[in-house]
């Protein structure tokens, strides 16, 4: 008997007991639904996190104080001179800038708002995906010349100057007055959580917040391969200049991506184990009903044997029936899972990702369950004695 005929026969007998078949395959269905939905949502989430991270660029690195030393920073770990010297001596470093920040009051247009005030350099625009919507970003001459200028994000601008353009208006930071020279679109990422930003030259920032310090430095290379070398050489220069070995540590995007992957890996493992148990239980259900089916159809098996079916033919027939039953559950589960994934992500507001691998895996997995749990009943059917089987009522 060829495969097409076997599948037809299997489908026929499943259809004859449709309710029973659906109930039997429910375990498989729920298992596959869970796997598909969770994996789709998980992968969608992972992808959107990755996309955010890639926005910052895989050619970026950060150098900060190694907090594992259990010593409070003195505030003198990074200086403006460090930046210039590293830039001059490490050819791999294309951009390098200090990052100083302070969450503080911003006065402007008779209002007081709070924002993250970043002391930074012109290079910032090269390392971060900023969209300038009006005016310009900080320039090198702004920074070198300690000009009292600021770039603010549009949200901030809207809040301080709701009726007019913020460009050219003045804001007060501490006791200093700055002129707004540019507007940028608010940086959006899953981590930004609606914080508003004000960007000013680092030297100006240090004037405004004399107790503040440069928290870390941020750099970029021309291509991702140079990140490690650039980071290591920069740290070497810092250690030499500050005479403190082991004071600094470097981070690059690769490490962060690995950290995310580790988290999602654990999540996938946990879900995999749960789904595995669900599918195991489902498989036992299928095995059980297949054993019932063999008993019910003993006469049919005997007849088929009398008409010329070999043991192999009977084995394959029941095996295919178990596989078709599991695939039925698998396909329904897949549809429900994909639907569920879209539903969940509509609520969670990130796109689900149903990859072909997932679908193929679910398909293969349900078929494998059919084979594993179908083999015992199928073998029992194939080993029936045709005379005994024909005599059975």
């Amino acid at each position: 008997m060829n495969l097409g005929e076997s599948i037809w026969v299997a489908w026929d007998s499943i259809r004859a007991n449709m309710l029973r078949s659906i109930l039997t395959t429910l375990g498989i269905m729920i298992g596959i639904t869970a796997v598909i939905a969770v994996v789709a949502v998980g992968q969608g989430g992972q992808k959107s996190i990755m996309k955010e991270m890639e926005k910052f660029g895989s050619n970026l690195f950060q150098i900060m104080v190694d907090w594992r030393r259990d010593e409070l920073p003195t505030g003198r770990e990074f200086t403006m001179e460090d930046i210039d010297i590293i830039k001059a001596n490490v050819p791999e470093v294309q951009y390098l800038l200090p990052c100083a920040n302070s969450y503080s009051n911003v006065k402007g247009g008779n209002k007081v708002k709070t924002a993250q005030v970043l002391g930074t350099e012109a290079d910032y625009a090269h390392l971060h995906p900023l969209e300038i919507t009006a005016g310009r970003f900080l320039t090198n001459s702004d920074c070198q010349g300690r000009r009292r200028v600021a770039v603010i994000d549009e949200e901030m601008a809207q809040e301080l100057f709701p009726r007019t353009s913020a460009l050219g208006k003045r804001i007060m930071l501490g006791n200093q007055t700055l002129v707004i020279c540019g507007l940028v679109k608010a940086e959006s990422s899953p981590f930004s959580m609606g914080i508003k930003y004000v960007y000013i030259p680092t030297r100006v920032w240090l004037d405004i917040y004399p107790d503040g310090n440069i928290a870390y430095i941020e750099g970029g290379t021309r291509n991702p391969e140079e990140v490690k070398v650039a980071m290591q050489n920069s740290i070497k220069i810092l250690e030499k200049r500050h005479r403190s070995e082991g004071l600094y540590q470097g981070f690059d995007m690769e490490q962060q991506i690995q950290a995310v992957n580790k988290v999602t890996g654990v999540m996938t493992l946990v879900i995999g184990i749960i789904a595995g148990f669900s599918l195991l239980v489902g498989g036992i259900g299928v095995m059980n009903i297949m054993l019932v089916s063999v008993t019910e159809r003993t006469r049919e098996i005997g007849l088929r044997m009398a008409l010329g079916a070999r043991r192999r033919d009977i084995l394959i027939q029941f095996l295919i029936e178990a596989i078709v039953l599991c695939l039925l559950g698998g396909i329904i589960g897949m549809a429900l899972g994909i639907g569920g994934a879209f539903l969940i992500s509509a609520l969670a507001k990130w796109p689900p990702l149903v990859s072909w691998t997932t679908v193929l895996l679910a398909f293969t997995f349900s078929a494998a369950i059919g084979i594993i749990f179908g083999i015992l009943p199928a073998n029992q059917a194939a080993n029936l004695d045709p005379i005994e089987a024909l005599r059975r009522d």
């Binding site: 004859a16 009398a306 079916a309």
Partner: protein
Amino acid sequence: MIKMEQINKIYRPHSNPVHALQDVSLHIKTGDFVAIMGPSGSGKSTLMNLMGCLDTPNSGTYWLGGVEVSSLNSDQLATVRNRKIGFVFQNYNLLPRMTALRNVELPMLYAGVEKEERKARALDCIGRVGMLDRIHHRPSELSGGQCQRIAIARALVNNPNIILADEPTGNLDSVTSLEIMNIFQSLHRENTTIVLVTHEADIAAFARRILHFRDGKLIKDELLNPLLTEPSTAKGGEHI
């Protein structure tokens, strides 16, 4: 066609043995129409199982269409059943979910016959039993006699060497039984070899020859209806 020599069949040979067949030898020629009669426990069912290659004897040889089949393995026996034997059962044994046509096609599925030819041959055999107007009916929509006709068509479809019919009229009324026996007789006229098991003398009377069994032994080989078709020879150690 069928040649059995010194066939012995013993059930439970080690504990409480039952000697179901003892030294049975017989010979059935191509085109013959043989009835096997005997009371229950006479060994006629065992003989049918052996003839049908559903079982193997403990000793003796069984030649079917030129092949010694008593020592074949289960797969080889399945192939012999498929190609050389057509079964007709008392309770028809049609698969309830399949149409008459698909039931008749079933033996050809295991013979690996192509789809087109399967249908053509099935229709031909259904025509021979006069059921062409019922091919898309399921067994539950057919009468007992109609079911048995379909079963006969199924038995014919692989052009077997012999038709083995086990009480084919056991579930039918006398009028329908007569119709079924007429079909067997017309098949016999077309030179089909038929072996029929029955305990009813008036059914056995349709055959050309009756083999009587008792206590696992062939006790009488009776030739009737000599005019029906050509002669046959019976070779039996016990026959009279």
